[in-house]
C-alpha cells in the first residue's frame, strides 16, 4: 500500500462534498440541541414524561448502539479464539466500530440522564449491586476500556510507538476473552433490565429468557453490522483498503452470513420455545401478535433465509441486503421492547412518540460516530496493514 493513497487529504482535497456539507449541518444543529438540552432541561427537548421515562435515547442510542457494536467481540472472538484467521482483516474495523459505538453510547447517556456528571457514581461512589443497570454500567465501563486498549495498536502504529504496540499485541488473547465475558454480561443484562417490569411490557416480548434473547440477537446483530459496514466502507473508503483487506472481504461477508443465518435460525427456535413456556400462543391472534410475527418472521427468519441463500450461492448482493435487513430487525426488536410494546396497556394519549429534537439529537450522535470513523480510517492503519508490521501474524 503506498503511503500517498492513505495520506490525509491535503490542499487538493475537496471539503465541499455533499456528504461533508450534510455532516456540517447535522453537527451544527446537534450543537444547538445540546445547548438547549443542558440549559433548558430534558423536558424542553424530549417527549419523555412520568409514564414514559425512557424514550428514543435509551431505545436507540443505548439499546441499539450496544447491540450493533457487538461486531467487535464477535469478530475478535472468531479470529483470535476460534482461530478463524481468514477474518483477520475484519478485526480492526470491527474493533474500531465497537469502540466508537460504545463511546457514543456513553456520550449519548450524558444527554439522557438527569445529572450526567454523576455517571461515575454507580462505580465509584455508591454501588447498587442489586440493579441490572449497575451490571450494565460496570460492564460497559470495563468493556469500553478493553476496546480502547484493543484499538491502541492502530494508534501506536500511526504514531510509531513500536514498544508499546508490541506490549498491547501480546495481550490480545486475554483482552479478547475479557471482551467476550463482558459482552455476554452486558448484552444480556440490557434485556434483563426489562424483566423487572412484567406488568408494563407486552407478554409476547416479556420473557424469563429476555437476557438470553438479547445476547443471542446481539451476536447476529454484530455479525450483520460487520457486513453492513463492509458494504459502506467498500463504497466510500475503497481507496483506504489494502490488497489483503480487499481479497479477504468477500470471504468475511460469506463466512459471517453463514454464521448469522445459523444463529438466527436458533434464535427463532428459542423465541418459539419462549412462546411455549409462557403459553402465549393465544396472543398471536391479536394485533400485537401480528406485529410480533412481523418482527420474528419478517425481520429474523426472512433475512436468515436470505443469508443462507446468499452464502450458498456466493451472492454478495444478497448477503448485503440480508445484512441491512437484519440490522433493521434488531432496531425493530429493541424499539418494540423499550417503546412500542412497553406501556402497551396505557391509553393512546399517554403513549410516547419521540420529539423532533430527540430524533435530531440521535441523528447528531450517529453523525459524530461516522465523522470519527472517517477521521480514524483516514489516518490510522485500520483498513490496511501498516507496512512495518505486515508479516507479524
Amino acid at each position: 500500500m503506498d503511503q500517498e493513497k492513505n495520506a490525509y487529504p491535503g490542499e487538493s482535497y475537496n471539503w465541499f462534498t455533499p456528504f461533508n456539507i450534510l455532516t456540517a449541518i447535522v453537527l451544527a444543529v446537534g450543537l444547538v440541541l445540546t445547548i438547549l438540552r443542558f440549559t433548558q432541561g430534558i423536558g424542553a427537548v424530549t417527549n419523555l414524561d412520568n409514564n414514559n421515562p425512557w424514550g428514543l435515547w435509551i431505545g436507540f442510542d443505548l439499546l441499539c448502539g450496544v447491540a450493533l457494536a457487538a461486531g467487535g467481540f464477535t469478530t475478535s472472538a472468531a479470529c483470535y479464539i476460534f482461530g478463524l484467521k481468514r477474518f483477520h482483516s475484519a478485526v480492526r474495523p470491527a474493533i474500531l466500530t465497537a469502540f466508537l459505538g460504545y463511546a457514543l453510547v456513553v456520550f449519548a447517556l450524558h444527554y439522557d440522564v438527569g445529572r450526567p456528571w454523576k455517571l461515575p457514581y454507580p462505580i465509584f461512589v455508591s454501588q447498587g449491586t442489586s440493579s441490572l443497570l449497575f451490571e450494565v454500567g460496570l460492564c460497559v465501563f470495563l468493556y469500553l476500556t478493553v476496546l480502547f486498549i484493543e484499538w491502541t495498536p492502530a494508534a501506536f502504529e500511526w504514531l510509531g510507538f513500536k514498544g508499546l504496540r508490541k506490549m498491547v499485541v501480546r495481550l490480545t488473547l486475554v483482552l479478547t476473552i475479557f471482551g467476550v465475558v463482558l459482552s455476554t454480561l452486558h448484552q444480556s443484562s440490557l434485556g434483563a433490565l426489562f424483566m423487572i417490569a412484567p406488568s408494563k411490557l407486552h407478554p409476547l416480548w416479556y420473557s424469563g429468557y429476555l437476557h438470553v434473547y438479547f445476547f443471542i440477537s446481539a451476536i447476529f446483530a454484530g455479525l450483520s453490522m460487520v457486513i453492513f459496514e463492509g458494504t459502506m466502507a467498500h463504497k466510500w473508503l475503497h481507496d483506504k483498503m489494502d490488497d489483503t483487506h480487499l481479497a479477504e472481504a468477500d470471504g468475511v461477508a460469506f463466512g459471517f452470513a453463514k454464521a448469522a443465518s445459523f444463529i438466527m435460525m436458533g434464535y427463532v427456535g428459542i423465541k418459539i420455545i419462549g412462546l411455549a413456556v409462557d403459553n402465549n400462543w393465544h396472543y398471536l391472534g391479536t394485533g400485537w401478535g401480528a406485529w410480533f410475527l412481523v418482527e420474528l418472521i419478517g425481520f429474523v427468519l426472512f433475512p436468515a433465509i436470505l443469508y443462507s441463500a446468499g452464502a450458498r450461492e456466493k451472492n454478495l448482493k444478497l448477503v448485503r441486503i440480508a445484512g441491512i435487513w437484519t440490522v433493521l430487525g434488531i432496531v425493530l426488536n429493541r424499539f418494540n421492547i423499550s417503546m412500542i410494546a412497553f406501556n402497551y396497556h396505557l391509553p393512546d394519549a399517554d403513549r410516547y412518540f419521540p420529539s423532533i429534537p430527540e430524533i435530531g439529537t440521535t441523528i447528531f450522535i450517529v453523525f459524530v460516530g461516522i465523522t470519527a470513523y472517517r477521521f480514524i480510517t483516514a489516518k490510522m492503519p485500520i483498513l490496511y496493514e501498516h507496512p512495518d508490521y505486515k508479516d507479524e501474524h
Binding site: N50, F82, P116, S130
Partner: protein, 361 residues
C-alpha cells in the same frame, strides 16, 4: 504447631459468622421470603369512606413544601380528569363513578422495585416502612420509574441542573418525630388509618368480615408485588378504581434475581470455556500444520526416491547403451580389423601366389 482452645473457638465463631453472612446474602435466590421489617408502619386506605374532598392533597402539598397548584384544592372539578402523581403532587385522588374515589401515592413496597432497580442505592426501605429517596446520589437514569409497577415516581424534567425523582416519603421526617403523615392527619372521614402494617392487615380483614357485602374480599397490597406498606379496601373491583390486579405476588427483586445470578457463573465459566476453545483451535492448527509438514516431507521423500530410481534406471540404461555402443564399436572395429586382415591376407595371397609355396615353408 499448637492451637489454643481460645484460638480454635475464635476461628469457629468467625467461620459461623461467615457462613451466616453468606446465608443471608444468598437469600434472594432461596426459598425464604422477606416479610418486611417487624413493626414497620403503613396506612390503610378504605376507599369506601373517601369522599374526594382533596384535603389530603392539600396537606401533602403543604407538608412537603410543594409549589401551589393553579387550581385551588377546593376546586373539585379537577377530579373529573384522571391524574397521576408528579413533581407537584405526591398524592392525587381520582374519581371513579359518581361516588367512588381512590387515593394514589407511593405504596412503599416491602421489597421496592425502585430500590432494587437503582444502580446507586438512592432508594432505601427504612425500618419505619418508608421508602426513602436520596437526591444526592441520584444520577437521573429513571430506571426506578421503569421498574415501579404502580407508576408512582415522577421526574423534574424541566430542571436543567438539579433534576430529581419525586415521590411520597410516607412523611418519614414526621413519623420519626412521632407525628402522623400529613394526609392521614387531615382526613375528615377516617378513610386513612396509620399504624403498624401487621395490625392494619388484621384491621382490614376485620372490616371485610364484618361487612362482607360492603367490600371486595381482598386487601390490596397485602401480597401485591411481595406486599406494600399501603393497604387498600374497596367496594368495587380494584381494577375499576385504577389499580392493576395483574401484578402478581412476586417481589421485584425476585423478578431479576435469576438474571443477576447468571452473572458470576458467566464470569467463572466463560474464560474456562473460551480458553478451551482457543486451545482446541490452536491444537487443530498445530496438528494440521504437522500433518501438512509430514505430508510435504513424505511427498518430497517419495519424489526424491522416485527421482533416484529414475536416475538409477537412466544410469543403467545409459551404461547399457554405452556398453552396447562400446561393444558395437569394438565389434565394428574387430570386424573392420578382421576385414582388413582378410583383405591384407588376400592381397598378400594375390601378390605371393607364385611364391605361395615359399611362404608356406
Amino acid at each position: 504447631m499448637a492451637i489454643s482452645r481460645r484460638k480454635f473457638l475464635g476461628c469457629l465463631t468467625a467461620a459461623v459468622g461467615a457462613t451466616t453472612g453468606v446465608g443471608s446474602l444468598a437469600h434472594a435466590a432461596s426459598n425464604k421470603a422477606f416479610k418486611g421489617y417487624p413493626d414497620s408502619f403503613g396506612v390503610l386506605h378504605d376507599s369506601t369512606k373517601c369522599i374526594g374532598c382533596r384535603k389530603c392533597e392539600q396537606a401533602c402539598n403543604e407538608v412537603n413544601g410543594l409549589a401551589k397548584p393553579e387550581k385551588p384544592f377546593d376546586d373539585l372539578k379537577v377530579l373529573e380528569e384522571r391524574r397521576r402523581t408528579d413533581e407537584a403532587a405526591y398524592t392525587v385522588v381520582n374519581k371513579f363513578g359518581p361516588t367512588v374515589f381512590a387515593k394514589t401515592q407511593c405504596n412503599h413496597c416491602q421489597e421496592p422495585a425502585c430500590a432494587s432497580a437503582c444502580f446507586v442505592k438512592a432508594f432505601k426501605k427504612d425500618k419505619t416502612g418508608a421508602v426513602i429517596y436520596d437526591e444526592s446520589l441520584c444520577v437521573g437514569c429513571r430506571y426506578c420509574m421503569v421498574a415501579c409497577p404502580f407508576n408512582v415516581p415522577a421526574y423534574t424534567y424541566n430542571d436543567p441542573l438539579t433534576p430529581k425523582v419525586t415521590k411520597c416519603t410516607l412523611c418519614h421526617p414526621r413519623i420519626i418525630e412521632g407525628k402522623l403523615p400529613g394526609c392521614v392527619e387531615i382526613c375528615p372521614k377516617e378513610a386513612l388509618v396509620f399504624g403498624k402494617r401487621a395490625d392494619l392487615v388484621k384491621l382490614a380483614w376485620k372490616r371485610i368480615n364484618q361487612a362482607p357485602g360492603h367490600y371486595v374480599q381482598h386487601v390490596y397490597g397485602e401480597h401485591e408485588m411481595g406486599g406494600t406498606s399501603w393497604l387498600y379496601l374497596s367496594g368495587i373491583p380494584f381494577e375499576q378504581i385504577g389499580m392493576r390486579e395483574d401484578l402478581g405476588t412476586t417481589s421485584a427483586p425476585q423478578l431479576t434475581s435469576g438474571a443477576l445470578a447468571s452473572v458470576p457463573i458467566v464470569v467463572g465459566l466463560w474464560p474456562v470455556l473460551l480458553t478451551g476453545v482457543y486451545a482446541i483451535a490452536k491444537r487443530k492448527d498445530k496438528i494440521a500444520k504437522e500433518e501438512q509438514d509430514t505430508a510435504v516431507k513424505d511427498a518430497i521423500d517419495q519424489a526424491t526416491e522416485e527421482m533416484n530410481k529414475q536416475l538409477t534406471q537412466l544410469k543403467d540404461k545409459m551404461t547399457k547403451e554405452q556398453q552396447t555402443a562400446v561393444a558395437n564399436e569394438v565389434k565394428k572395429a574387430l570386424e573392420e580389423a578382421a576385414k582388413k586382415a582378410e583383405e591384407e591376407v588376400e592381397e598378400a595371397a594375390k601378390a605371393d601366389t607364385p611364391d605361395a609355396g615359399k611362404e608356406d615353408e
